[in-house]
C-alpha cells in the first residue's frame, strides 16, 4: 500500500537576544518605534549570538520537536535543512545535525539553499521521499541567521529580518487522501540581484574591497558582503507572482478560494501582506499576520505561523490551508495543506 505524507508536528525556536524597535529608532532618526511597528508589523526580532549558528538554532528547534513526543530522533530517516547561513562551506550542515541530534546513521541528510520560499520546497521534497517509499519520517529543518549578513545601519533590512528556526516532522500516513499538495513552483533568476549578499561566494570572494561600506540614496550603509534588498523590485515581484500562484494552485487543486480556511503566506512584513491580502481579496481573519515578536525569519516564517496558529486554537479541528512562500532567488512556491 502506498503511503501518503502528512505533517505530524511542528516546533519553533528563536534565539534569546532581542532587538527592539526602540533600539532601532535610536539608530534611525527618521523612524519612531511606533512607525516601525505600524509599517512592518514587527515589535521585536530575535538575534543569534556571536558564534550561534543556524545549525544551532535548527538543533534547538529539533530538540523542542522531539520533547513534544510525537516523533523522536530514532524515528527520523531523512534530514532536510533549509538555510542560507550554513555552519561551514562544507561539510553539509544537515550531516553535522544528524550526529548532534542522535539520528541514526542509516538516515539521509542534505541542505537546501533557499530563503523565503524554502519551507514549501522542503515540504515538496519530504512528500516525494515519503510517497515514493524512500523515507517514512522526514525531519524538515528551516533555520537562518540573516542578522549576520546585515549592516547595523541598514534600516531597509534590519527592521524586517529576525533569526529563527523551525522543525517540522513529515511522516507516512495510511490515509489515502494526500494531506500535502498539490504544489505550484516558480523561479525567476533574472531578479537574482534584487535580494542578494553579493560578496562571500566564489563570484566575488571576500577581500578588502568587499568590506568597503557606502551609503545608499536613503542613507542606509552597506558593503558588498552585506545583505542588499531592492524593496521596490521585491514588492513588484510579489504583487505579480503571488496572485498568479494562488490562481494556479486553486486550478490545480480544483478548489475555490472559499474552500481554503487560511492563507498562510510567507511573513515578509505587514505592509506587503496587507497589499497582497487586498489583491487576493481574502478577508483579514483568513490571512494571518504572525510576525510581531519574531520579524521575517526567512524560511521559518510559515512553520512559525503554523505553530502560533496551533497555539491560538485555530488548527484545533482539521483545516485546509494554502501556503505560499516567495523571495530570494527569485523563487516562489505554493501548496495546499490539510492539517
Amino acid at each position: 500500500m502506498v503511503a501518503t505524507a502528512k505533517i505530524a508536528d511542528i516546533a519553533g525556536h528563536l534565539p534569546s537576544q532581542i532587538l527592539s524597535n526602540e533600539e532601532l529608532a535610536a539608530l534611525y532618526p527618521a523612524w519612531s518605534a511606533e512607525k516601525i511597528l505600524d509599517k512592518t508589523g514587527i515589535r521585536q526580532r530575535h538575534i543569534a549570538a556571536p558564534g550561534e549558528t543556524a545549525g544551532d538554532l535548527a538543533m534547538c528547534a529539533a530538540r523542542k520537536l522531539f520533547a513534544r513526543g510525537v516523533i523522536g530522533p530514532e524515528d527520523v530517516d531523512f534530514v532536510i535543512l533549509c538555510t542560507q547561513a550554513p555552519d561551514y562551506i562544507l561539510p553539509t550542515t544537515a550531516c553535522v545535525l544528524q550526529h548532534r541530534l542522535g539520528i541514526r546513521t542509516s538516515a539521509g541528510a542534505l541542505d537546501v539553499n533557499l530563503g523565503c520560499s524554502g519551507f514549501v520546497y522542503g515540504l515538496s521534497l519530504a512528500k516525494g521521499l515519503v510517497e515514493t517509499g524512500a523515507a517514512r519520517c522526514v525531519l524538515l529543518l528551516t533555520a537562518d541567521t540573516y542578522s549576520k549578513y546585515i549592516h547595523p545601519l541598514d534600516k531597509s533590512v534590519r527592521t524586517l529580518f529576525g533569526d529563527g528556526a523551525a522543525a517540522t516532522a513529515i511522516v507516512a500516513s495510511d490515509d489515502p487522501a494526500p494531506a500535502i499538495g498539490p504544489f505550484v513552483f516558480g523561479t525567476d533568476g533574472s531578479g537574482a540581484q534584487h535580494l542578494i549578499v553579493p560578496a562571500g561566494g566564489f563570484r566575488q570572494p571576500r577581500d578588502a574591497s568587499s568590506a568597503v561600506e557606502t551609503p545608499d540614496d536613503s542613507g542606509n550603509m552597506r558593503a558588498p558582503e552585506h545583505l542588499y534588498m531592492n524593496g521596490a523590485e521585491v514588492m513588484a515581484f510579489t504583487l505579480r507572482e503571488v496572485p498568479r500562484t494562488m490562481k494556479a494552485l486553486l486550478e490545480k487543486a480544483n478548489a475555490t478560494a472559499e474552500s481554503i480556511d487560511f492563507f498562510v503566506l510567507h511573513q515578509a512584513n505587514r505592509f506587503m501582506l496587507e497589499a497582497l491580502r487586498k489583491k487576493l481579496h481574502v478577508p483579514a481573519d483568513r490571512l494571518p499576520i504572525c510576525m510581531e515578536d519574531a520579524g521575517n525569519t526567512v524560511s521559518s516564517t510559515i512553520p512559525l505561523a503554523l505553530e502560533s496558529m496551533r497555539q491560538d486554537g485555530l488548527l484545533a479541528s482539521p483545516k485546509r490551508l494554502m501556503l505560499i512562500g516567495f523571495g530570494v532567488g527569485l523563487s516562489w512556491a505554493g501548496c495546499i495543506l490539510s492539517i
Binding site: A30, K39, S156, D217, S218, N220, N230, G231, A232, E233, M235, A236, L239, R240, F271, M272, A275, K278, K279
Partner: protein, 78 residues
C-alpha cells in the same frame, strides 16, 4: 484621484487635504524614502492596476511626477 490621495497621504504621513499635484516632498519635509516608494507601488497597483518602477518613483519630487508615471503606465496598458 481620491483613493490615491488618501493612500498617499497615509504613506507620507500628511493630511490628504494638503496633497495637490504641486505638493513637493522636500518642501513638506515628507519622507520620500524606500519604504514610502514600496508602499506607493502597492497603492498604485491596488488603485489603478498598474505597476510602477521603483527607480522612476525614486526620482519623483512632487505628486504630479507620480501622477505622470501612473498616466504613462495606464496608457501603455490601454
Amino acid at each position: 484621484m481620491n483613493t490615491f490621495y488618501e493612500g498617499l497621504a497615509e504613506i507620507l504621513e500628511v493630511d490628504a487635504s494638503e496633497l495637490a499635484p504641486n505638493f513637493s516632498f522636500a518642501d513638506a519635509n515628507a519622507d520620500w524614502d524606500s519604504l514610502a516608494i514600496v508602499s506607493t507601488i502597492a497603492l498604485v497597483d491596488d488603485t489603478y492596476n498598474v505597476m510602477l518602477d521603483g527607480k522612476s518613483l525614486a526620482a519623483c519630487e512632487k505628486v504630479a511626477d507620480i501622477e505622470a508615471l501612473i498616466d504613462a503606465a495606464r496608457s501603455r496598458n490601454a
